[in-house]
C-alpha cells in the first residue's frame, strides 16, 4: 500500500508535473500517439470496413487479415520499424496505427452488417442510391458498433503507447523505464497509475459517446416496450380506429 501512496506522492510532486519531460507533457505525448494513430487508422479502416459491410465483399479477407494483425506483437513490430525508419515518433506511430486498424475495421463492417437487411432492402426499394443507403441508413444505424470499434482501438493504443520509449519516442513509458532502471518504484507505480487513469477516463468518455450515438428511434422503441407491453402478448394489438380522419 505504501508503494501506491509513494506513487501518488510522486505524481503530485509539482517538480514532476510540469515542464518539458514532466507528467503533463508525457500525457500529451501519450494522447497524441493515441489520437494520431487512431485518426490515421480510421482514415484507412473505416471506409474499407463500410465498403465491406455494404457490399459483403472481401469479408473473409478482412476477418483473416485483421485477426493476423491482432496477433502481431507490438513490441517486435516497433523494433523492426525503428530499425527501418529510425528512432523518434514515426516508428511508434506506425506501430500503433497497425494496432488500431483491426478494431476499427471490424467495428465498421460489423456495424453495417448488423443493420436489418429488410430495412436496407426497403430503403433501396424506395429509390435510394447505394451511397444514400450507406450514409442515410447503414451508417446511422451501425454507428454504435462503429464507435465501439473506435473505443477499443483507442484503449488498446493508449495502453500500448507506453512502448514508444523503446524508439526514444517519449510518452509515459519514459517514466516506467526510468523507474525500472533506477529502482525508483514510486516513479514506476506513479506512471502506471497515470496510464491506468488515462485509459479509464477515455473508456468513460467513449462509453458515453456510444450511448449518445444510438439512434433515438431505436432506444425510443426499447423504452416503450419495457413500459407498455405486458409479459404475455395481448390477443389483439391494433391501431385505434380513426375512420374519417
Amino acid at each position: 500500500m505504501d508503494l501506491f501512496l509513494d506513487g501518488f506522492a510522486w505524481i503530485f510532486d509539482p517538480a514532476h508535473l510540469s515542464g518539458p519531460g514532466g507528467i503533463w507533457a508525457r500525457i500529451a505525448e501519450q494522447l497524441s500517439y493515441t489520437f494520431g494513430a487512431v485518426a490515421i487508422a480510421a482514415v484507412i479502416a473505416i471506409p474499407l470496413g463500410l465498403w465491406i459491410g455494404h457490399t459483403g465483399r472481401g469479408r473473409d479477407i478482412a476477418v483473416l487479415s485483421s485477426g493476423g494483425l491482432r496477433a502481431l506483437p507490438s513490441l517486435g513490430l516497433l523494433i523492426i520499424f525503428a530499425l527501418g525508419i529510425g528512432i523518434g515518433f514515426k516508428a511508434p506511430l506506425l506501430t500503433f496505427v497497425i494496432l488500431a486498424i483491426p478494431s476499427l475495421l471490424s467495428g465498421a463492417y460489423a456495424g453495417v452488417e448488423a443493420v436489418d437487411k429488410r430495412t436496407v432492402d426497403a430503403a433501396r426499394a424506395q429509390g435510394m442510391t447505394e451511397w444514400q443507403v450507406l450514409t442515410k441508413v447503414e451508417l446511422p444505424l451501425g454507428l454504435p458498433l462503429l464507435i465501439g470499434g473506435i473505443r477499443s482501438g483507442v484503449l488498446q493504443v493508449v495502453a500500448t503507447a507506453t512502448l514508444a520509449y523503446f524508439a526514444s519516442g517519449g510518452a509515459l513509458g519514459v517514466f516506467i523505464n526510468d523507474g525500472l532502471k533506477t529502482r525508483d518504484y514510486a516513479e514506476l507505480i506513479g506512471a502506471s497509475i497515470v496510464v491506468t487513469a488515462l485509459a479509464l477516463v477515455l473508456e468513460g468518455i467513449f462509453a458515453l459517446l456510444q450511448r449518445l450515438f444510438v439512434p433515438r428511434g431505436v432506444t425510443a422503441g426499447q423504452i416503450t416496450e419495457v413500459r407498455s407491453r405486458p409479459v404475455r402478448p395481448r390477443a389483439v394489438v391494433g391501431s385505434p380506429i380513426q375512420e374519417g380522419k
Partner: protein, 270 residues
C-alpha cells in the same frame, strides 16, 4: 399498364423462379398475384421496380422498357409497401413518409405538409407524426408504410404481402382501408398475397400462380370462382372442399342463401 413479355428469372443457384411469364397488368386497377410460397409471386412483383433483375424477356410500363430507365429513378416513381413495413427505425414517422419526395428534391416543409395529409388518408392520427416506428403498433406501422408508398404520388403501387404480419382484426381493417383508398385514388396496384380470400376481396383481377411463376388462371374473382380451369385452381380456391359453395333454401317463401355449413348468409333479392 405493366406488361411482361416472356420474362424469365433464373437465380444464380439455377432455380428458375419465373419461367417465360407473359402478363398484362391493367392500369388503375388492383391486380392480385396469389400463390403459395415458391410460386414466384414476389419475384414477379420485384421485377417491376428492378429490385430483382430479369434474366430475359421484356418488361414495359406504359409501353416504355423499364431497362431503358435508371433503376433508382424507376423506383422513386413506383410506390413500394412491404411486409413488416420496412420503415427506417431511426427516423420519425413523418420523415419516413417524406423519404421519397425529399430524395426527389421537394422542399422539406412542403413534403411534411403533404405527408400530414397522407396520414389522414391512411387513417392515422397526425399526433403520431413525431413518433418513431418502434413506438407504433404493427397495424399503425403498415399504415405508415402505405403512406410512404403513396408519398411521391406514384401511378403504380407495389404491395408485397403488406398485411401478412398483422392479426386478423387489424388485417381486415387495413384491407377495408385499402379498398377505400383505391376507390379515391385509382392507382395501378399490384398486390402479392398467399391468402386467396384477400385476393378475391381486393383484386379487380386475380392472377393465380403455380410453381415457377406459371399462370394457373387469370381473371376477375367471379370468373375464377365460376369456372376454375384446373384441379390446382379448384383446390387453391377451396372449391373441391365445397368452400364458397352457397345454395338457396326457401324459408317462409323467400330465398335464403346458406353457406357450406348450412348457415344463412343472406336473402336473395329478386
Amino acid at each position: 399498364m405493366i406488361e411482361f413479355r416472356t420474362v424469365t428469372k433464373k437465380f444464380p443457384d439455377g432455380t428458375v423462379a419465373v419461367d417465360e411469364l407473359s402478363l398484362v397488368i391493367p392500369a388503375r386497377q388492383t391486380t392480385v398475384l396469389v400463390g403459395s410460397s415458391g410460386s414466384g409471386k414476389t419475384t414477379i412483383l420485384r421485377m417491376i421496380n428492378r429490385m430483382v433483375e430479369k434474366t430475359s424477356g421484356d418488361i414495359e410500363i406504359d409501353g416504355e422498357d423499364i431497362y431503358a430507365l435508371n433503376p433508382v429513378k424507376l423506383r422513386r416513381s413506383i410506390g413500394y409497401v412491404m411486409q413488416n413495413s420496412g420503415l427506417l427505425p431511426h427516423r420519425k414517422v413523418i420523415d419516413n413518409v417524406t423519404t421519397v419526395p425529399v430524395l426527389n428534391g421537394v422542399k422539406k416543409a412542403q413534403a411534411r405538409e403533404a405527408a400530414l395529409t397522407l396520414l389522414d388518408t391512411v387513417g392515422l392520427d397526425r399526433s403520431l407524426a413525431e413518433r418513431y416506428p418502434s413506438q407504433l403498433s404493427g397495424g399503425q406501422q403498415q399504415r405508415v408504410g402505405v403512406a410512404r408508398g403513396l408519398a411521391a404520388d406514384p401511378n403504380i403501387l407495389l404491395m408485397d404481402e403488406p398485411f401478412g404480419a398483422v392479426d386478423p382484426i387489424v388485417r381486415s381493417e387495413l384491407q377495408q382501408e385499402l379498398i377505400r383508398i383505391q376507390r379515391d385514388l385509382g392507382k395501378t396496384i399490384v398486390f402479392v398475397t398467399h391468402d386467396i380470400d384477400e385476393a378475391f376481396l381486393l383484386g379487380d383481377q386475380v392472377v393465380l400462380l403455380e410453381k415457377g411463376g406459371r399462370i394457373a388462371q387469370q381473371g376477375t374473382p367471379a370468373e375464377i370462382l365460376s369456372r376454375p380451369t384446373s384441379d390446382f385452381v379448384a383446390t387453391f380456391i377451396g372449391a373441391d372442399r365445397g368452400r364458397r359453395a352457397l345454395r338457396v333454401e326457401v324459408v317462409n317463401g323467400r330465398n335464403v342463401v346458406v353457406d357450406e355449413d348450412g348457415r344463412p348468409t343472406g336473402v336473395l333479392q329478386s
